[in-house]
Each structure stands twice: as C-alpha cells, then as structure tokens.
C-alpha cells in the first residue's frame, strides 16, 4: 500500500546567498544593502561596536541598558510617543547589547520604511536617556534577575559561565549585568556610554529587502549623514578559564523536578581557523537530533526530552557546552554517558556516514536559514561583528563539504578537552549529591542559587 522504494533526489537547483553591496559614507557609517524583492518588506539591522566588554567595571550591564534606552524617547519624542509612532507604522524597534555588538533592528512594510527609518535615526542621533526611563528599565531588569532564580534553565546557563571563567573575567558574569551592577548604573552613565561608544565609524546599517542600493544609501545619508563623534573605547580580555582541571558544582534547587545539566569548558573564538571542522564535529557530538549525545540520552535511555552541545561563538573564547535536563535520579548516569560520548569523539575517526549526515545537513539547510529579510540582515550583522570575509556566505557550503573525518578527529582532540571538563548541575542536592560525588569529575561543591 505504501512504497518500499526510497525516492532518489534529482539534481539540486543552484542557490546563492542574496547579493549585497557595502558603501562607506563620509562620516564613517558603513551601509550594506541586500536587495530581496520577494515581498514588500525591509529589515533593518544596525550593528554598533558598543559591547558588554566596554561596560565600566562595577557597572556591568551599561551597554545593554543603553541599547534598551534607545527606545525610551528622543529630544523631541517621549518614549510612549516613539513607541506609538513606530507601531502605527506596523513595526517596533528591538535593541540590545551583547558580547560583540549592540544591534538595533526592525522589519517594516516597504511603504513605511522612510518614516520608520527617520524615527529610528532620531533614536541614534538624539536619544533622551531621561532619568525616570532609565530607572524604570533598571527596575525591570531587577525583576528579571529575581525571576532568574526561579528558572532552572537560565540559572544553569548563568551558573555555568560563572563556574567556567575567572571571577574577574567579564564572561563570568552575565552580559546584561547583575542586580548589584545594574543598580550602580545611572542615566548619566548611560549617556556617557552612548557618547563614548555610539560612533558613526563604529556603526554599520544593514538593509535587506525590497529596496535598491541607491535607495538604501540615500536613506541613511539623509538621516544619519550628519552624525559625528570620535572617541573609541578598548575592550578587555574576557575569557580566562577559572581552572584547567575537572570540577563539579551543584546549585541547590531543593524542589527541582529535574536536574539541569551543563558540561563543558572554555571554547574557542569565532574566527579560529578550525571553525568548520569544529562545527561539523559538534554536529556529530550533539548538534543534530541524530547526534551521539541525543540518541544516547534521549532515544536509548529516555533520560531526557533532549540533549545538545554547542560552541557559544564570540570574538573571544565563549563556552563549549553540553546542555540537557534529566530526571533527578539519573543525573549521575547521564553525566557518565555524556563523558563516554566525549571520549568517543577523541578516540577514533567518526564514520563516513556520520560525517556526511552532518555535512549534507549543514549544506542543505543553508538556504532555509535565509528565507526572511530579518534572517539575511542578521547574517550580515554577524559578518560585520566577527569581521568575516565578504565571500563568507558564498564559500560556506564548500568549506563545510571540505571537512574530513580526519579533520573532525583533529578538531575533537584539540578543542574538546576531557581533563578540563566543568560540570554544573541545578537540582536537588539530596538526590544527586552522593551519586555525583562518586563520579571521576573532580571536586564537588554545593552552593545556594544567587544572582549577583
């Protein structure tokens, strides 16, 4: 009744990443336009080299607050007015800061682009940073920090970073700051951060969608062409590991229904020459549904709803993490199985079948990732913030296809380091402490959940 013969695909149709062009305006702003005419939409992503690594010491979270405060009004528009003016055009401005950039973005119908962009430009040129607005954003941030303690997934991610990096390395604390550091930021600090770091020479405006290069350039020139400024901040080294030997920490959550588990160590920077080997290696280890770790923990043992691994790509070395949530009773067993899979990646080459599963997946999904104008703008924003070459997208699939089983083994041996594994478990210490203590994963500490 159904057909036993598996379909054989015909030849794949040609695909290339949407074409884009870049121009530098006289005041230093870079404009990148990618014309995509499928639907009458334009996405804007403005990348500013103003990052969490530029946060003043003790005032971590300033970059994020500054980005958020862009939406809170300009010299001539209150925050409410600004919000409503954009929303009447069917759009709203998103703005946030992370380790490697501040990004402000919006997607709008083409017919509303001009007006929406003028309002957006106003937020960059004359943000108000009123005291009451910044104070409100801070209070919202403090409420979020309280909620973090209730939320095992976020708590585990954050606890892991804190365990991984030296306390005085910026990556040890959250990009958007803790309640203590955010409390120390005033609207003056926000204005100062803006003045020092929001500079035309550090800004790239990306426009993807239904517009031409000329339209894009004239839009940016007419709105942001007069913007000036010059100081430049330095970033700090942020990625020193806290230790180079195994260690395990339990963050106590006595009523937890599950253990949130994070296993890994400090990874490598985004621009590392082994990037493609590592991406394929990680896909096999824990990046795909059919990865070794997910098939083991979920499909073989039923310990979890899902298990995955990833490298958190940053300019400096972000975490390499294996992440899962397991039934409390099997916490130790799940850690052991994970260690086994990690060792396996380093013992011998993966099979040709595993290699082609990963490479053909990564090559094949490439066009699927860039169906929308906001995804295209986001990809170009990544290119800018990591300084990737302009042919990066055109050569991506060939670079993936060139990865070999030997390359994957070399990447695993170089960039997965079992002797340095750090383990963080957010869970019920009464159930998990003893079994976890007996594992060969280094000294165990138990601590209360905190957020600052």
């Amino acid at each position: 009744m159904t057909l036993a013969t598996r379909p054989v695909p015909g030849p794949a149709r040609e695909y290339h990443f949407p074409r884009f062009s870049a121009r530098r305006l006289d005041n230093g702003i870079t404009v990148i336009v990618s014309t995509v005419t499928k639907l009458p939409l334009v996405s804007v992503a403005t990348v500013i080299d103003a990052t969490a690594l530029m946060d003043p010491l003790g005032r971590e979270g300033t970059a994020e607050l500054t980005a958020e405060a862009l939406r809170e009004g300009t010299a001539s528009r209150s925050g409410v007015q600004l919000t409503l003016d954009l929303e009447k055009l069917g759009t709203s401005l998103e703005a946030g800061a992370d380790w490697d950039s501040t990004v402000a973005s919006l997607t709008v119908l083409k017919r509303n682009l001009g007006e929406a962009f003028r309002i957006f430009a106003e937020t960059l040129l004359s943000p108000a940073f009123r005291e009451e607005d910044v104070e409100r954003l801070k209070a919202e941030r403090l409420a979020e920090r309280m909620q973090l303690l209730d939320e095992p997934r976020g708590l585990a991610d954050e606890s892991f970073s804190r365990f991984l990096y030296q306390a005085d390395s910026r990556y040890a604390s959250p990009a958007s700051g803790t309640s203590k550091s955010v409390s120390a930021v005033s609207h003056h600090h926000v204005a100062e951060f803006y003045k020092k770091n929001y500079l035309p020479g550090a800004t790239t405006v990306i426009l993807a969608g239904d517009l031409t290069l000329d339209e894009g350039i004239s839009l940016v020139q007419s709105t942001l062409g007069s913007w000036s400024g010059q100081e430049k901040a330095k970033t700090v080294k942020a990625d020193r590991p806290s230790r180079l030997t195994r260690a395990v920490e339990i963050v106590a959550k006595p009523d937890a229904a599950q253990s949130e588990l994070r296993i890994g160590h400090v990874g490598i920077p985004r621009t590392h020459p082994d990037y493609f080997d590592v991406v394929v290696m990680n896909a096999v280890l824990g990046g795909l549904f059919s990865s070794r770790i997910n098939l083991n923990l979920r499909e073989k043992h039923g310990y979890t709803y899902g298990a995955s691994s990833y490298y958190d790509w940053r300019r400096q070395s972000g975490p390499f993490v294996i992440s899962t949530a397991v039934q409390s009773e099997v916490t130790a067993a799940a850690i052991s199985e994970t260690l086994r899979e990690i060792d396996g990646m380093r013992e011998k080459e993966i099979s040709e079948d595993e290699l082609t599963l990963a490479t053909s997946y990564l090559e094949g999904v490439f066009p699927i990732r860039y169906e929308t104008t906001s995804a295209i703008a986001g990809a170009l924003a990544n290119m800018v913030m990591f300084g990737l070459p302009e042919d990066y997208f055109d050569t991506y699939r060939a670079n993936i296809a060139a990865v070999t089983t030997a390359g994957v083994l070399a990447a695993a041996r170089a960039h997965v380091r079992p002797e340095e594994l750090q383990v963080v478990v957010v869970g019920n210490p009464e159930v998990i402490r003893e079994p976890v203590k007996n594992l060969p994963i280094g000294p165990l500490t138990v601590r209360e959940a905190t957020e600052d």
């Binding site: 009744m1 159904t2 057909l3 036993a4 598996r6 379909p7 695909p9 015909g10 030849p11 794949a12 149709r13 040609e14 695909y15 499928k38 639907l39 009458p40 939409l41 925050g79 409410v80 919000t83 409503l84 929303e87 009447k88 069917g90 759009t91 209070a139 919202e140 403090l142 409420a143 309280m146 909620q147 303690l149 209730d150 939320e151 095992p152 309640s179 937890a256 599950q258 949130e260 549904f289 059919s290 098939l295 979920r298 499909e299 043992h301 039923g302 979890t304 709803y305 949530a325 039934q327 599963l357 053909s360 997946y361 990564l362 094949g364 999904v365 066009p367 699927i368 929308t372 906001s374």
Partner: protein, 437 residues
C-alpha cells in the same frame, strides 16, 4: 498581498493545497491531522502528544529515528507539535528532496503500525515524562498550560484536560491505544497536506497521488461531545496557585468567539490593543506609567470549536502584591468597558498584525502551516489570502461592542500565581526581603 493557492482532494479524502514560490530552492511539506488532546478518551490524557512522538519511531519502510536522519541528511529541518484540536508534522527541504518528505509522511500515514513496539513506546513515555518535567513541572508558572484550560472549560468539555497529560495516564498508555488511535485518527480523510515553495505544480500533484493515493480512507472518527458553551462563564471564576516563583502573575481569560468567525477578528484586535507590544494599553499603563507590572501581554488561543479564549497575561513587579495586581488589571479592563477604545488604537493593532502576517509569509514552512490551519479548522485553504481584508474590516464600533459583550465580570476566569511562602518566617518578612533585594 496574495499567495498562489491550488487545492484538490484525493479520492481517499486527503485535502491537498499547493502554494508555489520559486524564489529559493526550498520546499515545505506540512501535514495537519485533525486530532488533538481534545480527542483523548478518559484516563488517557497526554496520549495525542505521546502518539506524536511515536510517529518519529519509524514505519513499515523506515527505521526508528530514521525519519529525522533522512530529512537532516537531505539538508532539511523537521518537527511536529500537538495542540488541543490538531497535531502537525512538517519538513522543509531542498526542493529536489520533495519526494523524500512526501514518501516519509505517506509511509507513516499508510503503514505506521508494523514498526510499533513496546520498547519504543516505553522509551518515548520516558521522554515525554521528561518533557513534562522540563516544560511544566520544573518551569515557573509552567502549570498554567493545564490549569487555565481546566478552569475555563467545564470538566466534561474536551478542552478541559491536560494536553501534556498526567504521569499516571502516560503510564497507562498501551500499544493497543496506539493502534486504535492510529486507525481512528491518522487517516487521509482526517488530514490535510500543504506544500509551499519551489516545485512544479504537475510534478507535485503526481508525487502526491503516487505516495498518498493508495492509502485507504478511515471509517470516520467519533464526534467531540459537549463542545458548545454559553457566550459567558456566567460568573468570575478564580483559582489561586502557590508556586516557586518570585513574582505574582495573573492569567485573565475571557470566553470569546471561535477562530475564524466574524467575532474572532474583533477579539484578536482587542487582544492586540490590550497586550501586543509596548504601545499596548496594559503595557503602557501597568508597566510603563504606573510601574506595577514587569510585563503584560494578551493573545487568543485560536480554538475553532465551541468557544475560544482571549487571554491577558500580566506579571507583577517585585513590590506589587498579588491582590494589587489582580485589582489593577481588572480595573484596566473595567475602564476599557466604560471608555472604549479609539480609532488610533484599532489602527495601531491592525497595522502590527498586518506586518506580522506579511513577515510570516516569507517562510515556506510558515506559509504551509497557515494554509494547513485554515484547511483543517475551517475547511478552506484560500482563507489564508483573506485575513488582511478581515482585519481591515474590523471597526472601532465592533471592537467596542465585543469589549462590552465579553469582557465583563460575568465572563472572567482568573488564574493567579502567588509566590510560595517559604517554610521559615512569616509572610510579612518574606515581603520585606523581596522588596530589599
């Protein structure tokens, strides 16, 4: 904006919609089965979702987990999801792999049972129990998914019980249940298939017929009983829940007209006026101006049978007590009933909804899913092209009439989450600590 729509039905009842777009070499295949948690029998809560997991455990010509592997090897993405009224399965693949996706879907629609084993069921039962722990039990406010429908629908109603299911009912699920569920609900005449993206229309039709044409139709499914309900709850329903949360949260639900009905669009616009983005009423008033809430939003459940729910969701600031939160949110609703909404508020809401609809149509997967939604729930795929007009037709008068008719105290269900008072100390100390941190 109009997207191309071509619809046909196979002899076995499968309703097929094609929407061609050759801009990128990508195609999305999307199947909706008209079965969800509402169709579960007593003592089997969570079964529709557990069954969805079993659909990835192989079929007559496909091994366990091979569905995932074959699609990923082909360079595609895939998943499935379960809701009260439907279960969907979807793949997006390079366009030369269209037949693979169709073959995989057809094999499990036509011949799932030969691959089902007790061992697979037991493993997926454990996986689903861990999904429950992860998404419901170990998440702050995670139980709202089951507590709100339980409060807002009477116990005899198909939407009343838990979608993810109780641990006991998951334990009770058997291979016999799998077989019965499959034969009853996973039939071509209880499914719609939508294909969006890069294909040749004649080729796609031929492939659909080749793979799905010989699957025999089912014998029909038992009707859902007791769906219809009065327009109002008849009173204010209220449930207070202590949870391991730091901030109080109120879910306030109103019984509202079903998805796709004329009244639905007024309800949807009301939701956007109340809680869509930062310019919405509740956000402006409670978060920005008065600063008693940390967040506020509103949305419809989009149920097409019986009655839908319009839901307002507001989280308190640390210094705002649960009582105060409840009082202030209701005051906002009362003010809305008294003063009504303005033309500008309606225009803002409709403009945001319109942009979102166009934005969603960029993705083949989203296109196919929305087509399947209209085909399954309302029997007409072409409605996907009428949504902009439906929203444009919503007048301020209609929104205000909806608000007067549906948002009063006789039609409110309140689910209030309150921070659990810790073992040591009394409630007063607890509050002081919270305010000081």
């Amino acid at each position: 904006m109009q997207i191309p729509i071509e619809t046909f039905r196979l002899d076995n009842g499968l309703l097929v919609t094609l929407s061609q777009d050759n801009t990128a070499p990508i195609v999305a295949v999307n199947l909706w089965y008209h079965v969800g948690s509402a169709n579960e029998r007593e003592g089997r809560t969570g079964f529709a979702h557990l069954f969805e997991h079993m659909l990835f455990q192989g079929s007559e010509h496909v091994g366990a987990n091979e569905h995932f592997e074959l699609i990923q090897r082909a360079g595609g993405t895939l998943n499935g999801s379960t809701w009260l009224e439907r279960t969907n399965y979807f793949e997006t693949v390079p366009s030369n792999q269209l037949e693979l996706a169709l073959w995989l879907e057809a094999d499990r629609m036509g011949a799932l049972l030969p691959a089902m084993t007790q061992a697979k069921l037991d493993t997926q039962r454990d996986v689903v129990k861990n999904e429950r722990r992860w998404s419901v039990d170990n998440q702050p406010y995670g139980t709202w998914w089951e507590k709100l429908p339980a409060l807002a629908f009477p116990s005899s109603h198909p939407f009343h019980h838990s979608l993810i299911g109780s641990m006991e009912d998951l334990d009770a699920a058997s291979l016999e249940d799998v077989e019965q569920f499959f034969r009853t609900f996973y039939t071509p005449n209880n499914a719609v298939l939508s294909i969006a993206g890069d294909f040749d229309s004649a080729d796609a039709k031929a492939l659909v017929k080749k793979h799905f044409g010989d699957i025999p139709p089912g014998k029909g499914k038992p009707p859902l009983e007791g769906l219809d309900l009065p327009d109002h709850f008849g009173e204010t329903l209220r449930l207070e829940v202590e949870d391991d949360v730091s901030l109080s949260r109120l879910y306030l639900a109103f019984r509202s007209p079903v998805f796709g009905s004329e009244g639905y669009y007024a309800a949807s616009v009301t939701g956007a006026i109340l809680g869509m983005r930062q310019g919405s009423r509740l956000y402006r008033s409670l978060v920005r101006e008065r600063q008693i809430a940390a967040d506020a939003s509103a949305f419809t459940f989009d149920l097409a049978k019986g009655r839908d729910l319009l839901i307002v969701d507001v989280t308190a600031r640390p210094e705002t007590s649960a009582e105060k939160l409840e009082e202030e949110v209701e005051r906002e609703i009362d003010n809305l009933i008294k003063g009504g909404v303005s033309d500008e508020e309606v225009q803002r809401a409709v403009a945001l909804i319109q942009t979102d609809m166009v934005t969603a149509m960029q993705s083949a997967s989203e296109r196919a899913d929305r087509i399947s939604m209209f085909a399954t729930l309302l029997g007409d795929s072409s409605l996907v092209n009428e949504q902009a007009a439906r929203y444009n037709a919503v007048t301020t008068e209609r929104v205000n009439a909806f608000i007067r008719e549906r948002l009063g105290p006789e039609n409110r269900a309140k689910l209030l989450y309150v921070p659990r008072v810790k073992a040591e100390g009394n409630a007063e100390q607890e509050e002081i600590e919270v305010a000081a941190s």
